[in-house]
Amino acid sequence: MNHIRTTWHHIRRSPFQSLIAIIVMTLSFFVMSIFIFTNTGLSTVLNYFETKPEITLFLKDGLDKATVEGIQKELSNYKNVKEIKYISKDKALEIYKEQNKDNPLLTEMVTASILPASFEVTVSEPAILEEIYQNYSTRTTVIDEIIYQKDVIKSLLNWTKNIRISGIIITVIIGSISLLTIITIIGMKITNRKEEIKISRLLGASKFYVKKPFLLEGLFYGLFGSFFGFIFTFFIILIIRNSVNNFFQPVVFFNINPVFYLEILLIELSVGSILGLFASWIGSNRYIKY
């Protein structure tokens, strides 16, 4: 209790230094939280595409019925094919109109003739997709275009990887800055309280006894910084969640499970506490020499 009182006394005696420490820590955890949630969302999107192996073959215009049926037959001969769905030009128009029902300008000018017919092939084994792609990509007389999730997954993987790497780099940089800031602030506070530390030591206080309030101070900065960093991110997510989730439909980009947020908060509080304690431990070891 006594050490907590002393810590609070130190914080109150130099409020601006304390404020800076909390702001820097908050910034670190804000950035860290943003990357955690973005990365989690992208992983969910990636997972969605990976678990829905699909390939769409767009057919050339003017193919006769026999050719179309021949393609369908060929496709059904592949192993592990779950479903082959033929989307006629009329059906394609129907889908297009449904997707753009809120925008009449986009639907007015479009007719069934300008939309290609297609086959949507769903497989239970993603490796088959590559086989189908290799086979039909060269048959340009019957196939107009192939949309294969490999590209989507590849692009998503690149995005996730880049965001993860840049997230780690930025978090490490900002984390190091906050670590150095706390070390410096604790050092300044120790210098300001040099006399008090010296007197306490002469009265028989152990080194740990005089260090303890500074360690608690670092812990305080870590705890509050990580808490505020998380809270800011959480409110931003609350604001943008619906629009982002609508964009990624049917994938839920920002999780809506409160347990997930609670887990992240607890992890960040633990990391914040360790970071704050570590910084103040370095600071107090460096500056308390007597």
Partner: protein, 227 residues
């Protein structure tokens, strides 16, 4: 706690502050350290507190060698010593009460008894009305009494008092001596006090060590029988 100095020397660069000092002080003794300014009286007290290390020789307190002793042992000895520093060494941004509470917390005094202990010592040194004031708001005499209160609060086995009457008027000086004498008698606390005031030394008739130019010139031990 027995204090033993054995051929202790202390130099500051080329200046020999203490030369070949040897003496023993038993638990419960009241000893005056006398000498002119710069004779080495304060240095001697700082050596007992391990605030300074001797250049050569050994100092043992409670059979612990202060040079070779571990940090924990030194801290433990310090917690059993109450010090009245010549420059008071009170923490500027803590009130009188908080300064005393700090010393009590350091010696792990039971937290539920701290408040009443502060009441008691503040009354003993007649500083009740200044309890919540900060050092900058106190006079020289009040600072000295606040430092005394902090030293007494921890119920030490040894009290080191560096010129404790230096800033006190005659009446307060005698009150302080009376208080130290009572503590010495009642608690068997060792008192080691540096002073210039020959009247006090003479009237108390206690043991005294006279230091001149860093050397012990006279060592009166007649007070042992008077204890």
């Amino acid at each position: 706690m027995k204090i033993v100095f054995d051929q202790v020397n202390k130099n500051f660069g080329i200046i020999d502050v203490l030369k070949d000092i040897s003496f023993e002080i038993d638990q419960g003794e009241f000893v005056f350290i006398l000498g002119n300014s710069g004779a080495g009286k304060s240095t001697l007290l700082k050596l007992i507190l391990n605030q300074l290390k001797p250049t050569s020789g050994t100092i043992t307190v409670d059979d612990i060698d202060l040079v070779k002793g571990s940090k924990e042992e030194i801290d433990s000895i310090r917690r059993r010593i109450g010090v009245i520093f010549q420059d008071y060494q009170l923490i500027a941004d803590k009130s009188v009460e908080e300064n005393i509470a700090l010393a009590l917390n350091i010696v792990s005094y039971p937290s539920e008894k701290i408040e009443s202990r502060i009441d008691q010592v503040i009354k003993e040194v007649n500083l009740s009305s200044r309890r919540y004031l900060f050092p900058a708001q106190l006079s020289g005499g009040e600072l000295q009494r606040a430092a005394l209160a902090r030293a007494l609060a921890i119920e030490p086995q040894i009290i080191l008092a560096d010129e404790p009457t230096g800033n006190l008027d005659i009446e307060n000086s005698w009150n302080l001596i009376k208080l130290l004498k009572e503590i010495n008698k009642k608690n068997n606390t060792t008192i080691i006090m540096t002073t210039h005031n020959q009247d006090i030394v003479t009237s108390l008739g206690k043991r005294n060590i006279i230091i001149e130019d860093g050397e012990i010139k006279k060592h009166h031990t007649h007070s042992h029988s008077e204890k």
